[in-house]
Symmetry: C2
Subunit: 334 residues, 2 copies
C-alpha cells in the first residue's frame, strides 16, 4: 500500500512523532535528522494522508461550494475567483450542484458536513426561513454569494439588485427613452426578481413615466425568455428600449429583433445584466450591468477563510456594480 510515516520512521531510524514534526515543519529536531527523514520520505514516495490528519486536527482545509445547475453562464468566473484564493491559503475546493432552484440544497449541505468542510459558500440559491435555519444549525461558517437568506442574517456578498436595475432604467431615461420595456425577469425570485422589478418600476415612477404592463414580460433569465419577450413586443407595443434580466435574455431579444429586421441599437436599445463574457464578445457588444463575479468569489472566499482561521465574524457586503456602456444603446433625440 501507500507509504506511511511509519515506513519513513523505520527507514530513517526515528519515531513517527519525529517524522510528523519534520513533515509539518514544526521544528524540534536536528538538521541531520530532518535530512534523513526528508530523504526517506522522498525515496519511499510518500504522500501525506489528509484524511488521517483531518481526523485528529478536526480540520479539513477544504471549503465547499454549492451552486445551482443553471448558473452555467457566470459559473466559471465565480468558481475561479474562489479557487484562486483557496489555493493561496492552501485550501481545497469541493464542488456540488444543488439542482435547479437549489432543490438538492439539503443533500448538498449534508454532503459538505459529512466531509467536514471548514466553510461553505452557497452561490445564487435563495435561503428561505427553513433553509437558513438549517444552515445555522450546521454550525459551519457559511457565506452566500449573489444571494441572501430570508432574514438577511447570514453573511452575503452581492450586488444591490434594486439599485442596479434602477440605474439601468435611469440610464435609458437619460438617453431620452420613454417606452422602456423589462424582459425576462422571474417576479417570484426573491433575490434576482423582486428587487430588479421594483428598481425598474420605481425608476419609471420617479421620472413620471407611466408603467405599461404590456412592456413587462416575465421569464426565467434565459435566452429563450428573451426571444419570447421580443416576440411579444413585436405583436404588441414596441418599446424603444429594453432592460433585460440577464445578458442571455438580452441576446435572445437581439436575436429575434434581428430576424424581424429591427436593428440594434438604431431602432431598439438593449441593456443586459451580468456582463458575462458573451456580453463583450458579441456583435455589437452589449451595454450591460456588470456584476464582478470573479471578485465576488475571491472576496467571499477570503472572508470565509478569515472567519475560519481567525474566528472573526463575517459581515455582509454590497459589492458595487458598474454600467458598461458599449454599443447596444442609442441616445434618442428629445
Amino acid at each position: 500500500m501507500a507509504t506511511t510515516i511509519k515506513d519513513i520512521a523505520r527507514r530513517a531510524n526515528v519515531s513517527t512523532a519525529t517524522v510528523s514534526r519534520v513533515i509539518n515543519d514544526i521544528g524540534g529536531y536536528g538538521d541531520e535528522t530532518r535530512d534523513r527523514v526528508l530523504a526517506a520520505a522522498k525515496e519511499l514516495g510518500y504522500y501525506k494522508n489528509e484524511a488521517a490528519t483531518s481526523l485528529v486536527t478536526n480540520k479539513t482545509k477544504t471549503i465547499g461550494i454549492i451552486i445551482p445547475d443553471v448558473s452555467t453562464s457566470f459559473y466559471g468566473n465565480i468558481v475561479t475567483g474562489i479557487e484562486d484564493i483557496a489555493y493561496d491559503y492552501g485550501y481545497s475546493v469541493i464542488l456540488t450542484h444543488a439542482g435547479v432552484e437549489g432543490k438538492r440544497l439539503v443533500d448538498s449541505l449534508k454532503l459538505m458536513v459529512n466531509r467536514r468542510v471548514d466553510g461553505i459558500m452557497i452561490v445564487s440559491i435563495y435561503l428561505n426561513q427553513e433553509r437558513q435555519e438549517l444552515v445555522r444549525q450546521l454550525g459551519v461558517p457559511t457565506i452566500l454569494l449573489s444571494t441572501i437568506s430570508e432574514d438577511k442574517q447570514l453573511p452575503y456578498i452581492k450586488v444591490d439588485d434594486y439599485e442596479a436595475m434602477y440605474h439601468a432604467t435611469h440610464y435609458l431615461i437619460q438617453q431620452n427613452h420613454q417606452k422602456i420595456a423589462l424582459a425576462g425577469i422571474n417576479p417570484d425570485d426573491a433575490v434576482a426578481g423582486k428587487p430588479r422589478l421594483a428598481g425598474y418600476l420605481n425608476c419609471l415612477e420617479d421620472n413620471q413615466l407611466a408603467v405599461d404592463d404590456s412592456l413587462i414580460v416575465f421569464g426565467d433569465f434565459s435566452f429563450e425568455s428573451g426571444q419570447q419577450a421580443m416576440k411579444q413586443y413585436l405583436h404588441q407595443t414596441m418599446p424603444t428600449a429594453i432592460v433585460c434580466a440577464s445578458d442571455d435574455v438580452a441576446l435572445g431579444v437581439i436575436s429575434v429583433a434581428h430576424q424581424a429586421g429591427i436593428r440594434v441599437p438604431e431602432q431598439l436599445s438593449v441593456v443586459g445584466y451580468d456582463d458575462t463574457s458573451i456580453a463583450w464578445m458579441t456583435t455589437p457588444p452589449l451595454t450591460t450591468i456588470a456584476q464582478p463575479f470573479y471578485e465576488m468569489g475571491a472576496r467571499g472566499c477570503q472572508r470565509l477563510i478569515h472567519s475560519i482561521t481567525k474566528k472573526q465574524v463575517m459581515t455582509s457586503e454590497i459589492i458595487p456594480f458598474e454600467l458598461k456602456e458599449r454599443q447596444t444603446v442609442r441616445k434618442l433625440a428629445r
Copy 2:
C-alpha cells in the same frame, strides 16, 4: 463536538458496530434495533465523518478534477457533466485549477493524492513524457478529457481535432470557397494546435487548393487572437471564409469585420470551433464545430467510476464532433 457513533451507541443501548451497520444499511440487525439507532441518530443530529471512513476503507468516494485556468469558456459544461454523474454514483468532486498551460499540474496532482481521491480527471492539459510518467507512478485511475498524453497510453476522451478541422475546411470548400483562412491557432499546442493545422492544410491540399501563408494567422484561441487575425486580413489578402480555432476567435473575427463594415456571412463566411453557449446566442448564430463537452464530462466520469469500482480497464474514446450549420457561412456561386 459533533456527535459520533459512540454517542448514538450509548443513547440507543447498542454497540458502535451495530450503529455502523445500521448507518451503512449493511443488514444483520432487528427492525426494532434499527429504529432505535436511527431515532438516536436523528435526535442527536448525527453526520457521518467521511474522513474516518476513508481512513479505514481506503476509499474516499471522491474524484478530482484538474482544469487549466484558461478553459473558462467550456468549463461549466464539462464540470457539470462530471458532477452530474459523480452525484448519481455518490461521489464528490474536488476541483483545482492547474494554472495557465497546466503549470501547476504537479502541485494539483499532489493535492489529489494527498486527499486520496479515487480517480482523477485531467481536462485540456497536455501530458508530455515527464508528466504522463508522473501520473502513471501515482497509481490513481486517471482519465484525460479533451487532451492526450505524449505516448497516448493514458486513457482519454476527445474529439478528433484533425478530422474536425478537416471537416470544417472541407465544408467551406463545398460551399465553393477557395480563399480560406485559418485564424487563432497556436501551432505549438500539441493537442488543439498541430492536429487542427494539419487538418486544414491537408484538406486544402486534397482539394488542389494552394496554401497561402498570409491566410494563416496564429494566436492563442482567444477573442483577441481573432481580432488580431482579422485586422491582419484587412491589410493583406482578404479571404472569403475563415476557419477559426475556437468560438472566441470567431467572435473576435466577426467583431472587427463588423467594425470594418464587412458583413457576415454576406461578404465573409466564418466557422467556429467548440459550440460554447456564445455560439448559438450571438447574432447571427455561429456555424461551428460542436464538441460535446457535457457528454465528455459525463462519459469520462462514468468510465472513471467504472474503472474504480469494477477494476475494469479504461480505454480511450474518440467522441464524435458535429458541424452545426447556423448562419455565418454563405454558399458562393461557382
